[in-house]
Amino acid sequence: MNCKKIAALLLAGTCSTYVAAEKFTAVSFGGAYGETQQKYMIEPFMEETGHEILFENYSGGIAELKAQVESGNVLWDVMDIEVIDLERACSEGLLETFPMDTLPDGDDGTPAAEDFSEAALANECGVGNIVWTVLFAYNHDTIKGGQPTTVADLFDTKKFPGKRALRKRPQVNMEWALIADGVAKEDVYTMLETEEGQQRALDKLATIKDDIIWYDSWSQAPQLLNDGGAVMVQVANGRIFDAIRSEGKPFEMVWDSHLYDLDVWAIVKGSKHKKVAEEFIRFATGSKPLSSMPLVAYGPTRESSYQYVDKEVIPMLPSSHLDEGLKASSEFWADYGESLGEKFNEWLLK
């Protein structure tokens, strides 16, 4: 090889790495979940590719996303989004579509289309990341009247006296109220579409209204359980798992009728780093990075990740309890989220 060729190659090499090193922003939900993503997805990706990721927290919802896309001032590139918001964001054209056929095979060679759970690839705009769930938990030390095992027990203040902490929104609470009132899980959403069903749920909630503490963010739930503010709390499973495993708190999870859903990686419409963002999502949803999610009690969406997961932890993952649970209906909440939100607020003010 002559010198010129080497020089040209070198130049091309440096140029291409220079061009390729991009800096983009990813947003997620923070807490222990965000830290795990930082450690097992963001940092390894930066190390491997040389790209730089600004990893930030947001509080969910699509308001900021909508504002960014509509103004053309796109600040975020990749986002971790709940399916409940994903449907809406995708159909409003706020997200890019993701080329699902480019997803890599699992580490054991299973093709991506089979490796991922069906729900994880159901939406054209994003790739499922984890299964997470909302369940209720109680504190062994403060609970009186035995051990609650069903959602009906949550509504039974006679048998289990004390405060219950619920998140202040209609989601989950309306479903649980109907289930506790004897409605079969599969009928919950059809019933909630009717005026009578909605009223029935609110009436059921009203039976324990005086014993409810309403909170705004998931992190408050373990705190309330810990400081004695409540004997039972509604909580995202990861938060309570964290309190049990790393802080050794005497909390117990109740899996009955838990409402599970997926979190998804998606790309913001109009992102200037679309290609790298896709590369990141392919990386982050690989078997190995996804297998870190059980550290915070969330179930990976691909089968091949479970080979890396601690056997002891598997029973504590929502993915092991899908039969006991109910899939939160993003379609229902897209339809009735706003009107029920108003009704719920009205009911709260009564």
């Binding site: 909508k66 159909s91 409003e92 054209g93 309403w214 229902f332 897209a334 339809d335 706003e338 939100g341």
Partner: protein
């Protein structure tokens, strides 16, 4: 006589005055422009957004034009050509992935139609233009029985008007029925929240007045040296960050917070009392935060009242209480009213403290505005709610200016 000015002299002085006015105006102009652009224009945009709602008319313009002939009152379905055009436009929206925008808008008038529009759009995307034109909208009607409901179509038509008072109606718990008449909504929430905000603001104003009065009186009537030292204790909270003061109240009021553990330690209570995340928490922390705004104007007024009036009344045989209410109290009114209006105006629009310590029953109208801005994405409704609140504030501001004078605001 020289006292009479000649016409030229008058003209000259008027010209000078005009020039002077222009010069003074030139000083103010940069800020006027700045405030207009950076502050008034955003507020105006928001007012505009609460009545101007073009998105549906941009999404399905042709359908809306054809719908003009169709009377919603008739209770009949719109003609076939409307259905055809709508099917074609829905197909376009599905292809450009904008059907969700339409779905959200329609869902606001008829809850439950978001998934209807979205799923229909997905299915209609697969049909060809020719098939849809030929089908005269029958494919759409076959997709879901909800499309056969004239109410849905009148909802789409209503949502299609560019100028709307709908958000103001919603913001006052009203709605327009099928016949276009205004009636009260099923869900009654916003008026209640306005009343609650007014009630909380009034209560806080009252509490600050009750607390501030003895303190201001004491400060005004003690030695100047002592007053200056004690004033620091009023001014330090005034200068301390709002977030810091809210944090302190969280630390104080928590279930295992300072107040509860002190009371338990003293044996006054056995079980901790719920204080945080209640209306009580909102009221007490806001009273604390706004108290300096009441103390300072009261103090400055009281300091200027000559105590000899009061003493004169006493020495003329009046009893202390009547003398106080007849002589002294009326003289403090300018300070009291200034403080009261200031506290009231500030507290009615407060957001941060209720959001952090308020829980459910401590929420105010500003919290629901934030909810519609950040969670439900109903920005138009948020704008309408804000505009109504702005109306109340401007009214109070006008009263303030009328009776106290906006120029009399003093700081520190």
């Amino acid at each position: 006589m020289s006292a009479h000015l000649s016409i030229e002299e008058i003209a000259h002085s008027q010209k000078q005055l005009r020039r002077k006015k222009l010069k003074l105006f030139a000083f103010t102009l940069p800020l006027l422009c700045f405030v207009t652009l950076a502050f008034l224009a955003p507020i105006a945009t928001m007012l505009y957004r609460s009545v101007y709602n073009p998105s549906v008319s941009q999404l399905i313009p042709k359908t809306l034009v054809q719908m003009e002939q169709w009377k919603t009152v008739s209770g009949k379905m719109p003609p076939a050509e409307v259905l055809t055009t709508f099917s074609l436009e829905l197909r376009e929206l599905a292809i450009s992935r904008e059907s969700g925008k339409l779905a959200e808008e329609v869902n606001r008038v008829i809850p439950g139609s978001s998934s209807l529009v979205k799923s229909s759009a997905r299915k209609i995307k697969r049909l060809s233009v020719e098939a849809l034109t030929e089908g005269q909208g029958q494919q759409l009607l076959a997709l879901h029985k909800k499309w056969n409901n004239p109410l849905l179509w009148s909802g789409i038509k209503a949502q299609g008007s560019v100028w709307t008072d709908r958000y103001y109606l919603t913001a006052t718990d009203l709605t327009r029925n099928q016949m276009g008449e205004i009636e009260s909504r099923d869900t009654q929430i916003y008026l209640k929240l306005y009343w609650r905000s007014l009630r909380i603001a009034l209560l806080i104003t009252l509490l600050t007045a009750i607390l501030a009065f003895p303190l201001a009186y004491y400060l005004a009537n003690t030695s100047a040296k002592k007053a200056n030292i004690l004033l620091v204790f009023v001014l330090l909270p005034f200068w301390t960050s709002l977030l810091v003061r809210t944090t302190s109240w969280i630390a104080l009021l928590q279930t295992n917070g300072v107040i509860n553990s002190t009371l338990q330690f003293l044996g006054i209570i056995n079980q901790p009392i719920e204080m945080l995340y209640t209306e009580f928490a909102t009221i007490i922390s806001m009273t604390h935060i706004l108290l300096p705004f009441m103390v300072l104007p009261l103090y400055s007024v009281m300091k200027s009242i000559d105590p000899s009036y009061f003493r004169a009344a006493l020495s003329l045989g009046s009893k202390p209480m009547p003398a106080f209410f007849k002589i002294y109290f009326p003289m403090t009114l300018p300070g009291l009213s200034a403080g009261a209006l200031l506290v009231f105006i500030i507290s009615i629009g407060y957001y941060i403290t209720p959001a952090l310590v308020g829980g459910t029953d401590g929420q105010m109208i500003s919290n629901i505005i934030a909810f519609h801005m950040q969670s439900s994405n109903n920005w138009e409704l948020a704008a309408a709610l804000s505009s109504l609140m702005l109306g109340v504030i401007i009214l109070l501001y006008w009263i303030y200016d009328r009776f106290v004078g906006i120029n009399n605001i003093k700081l520190g």
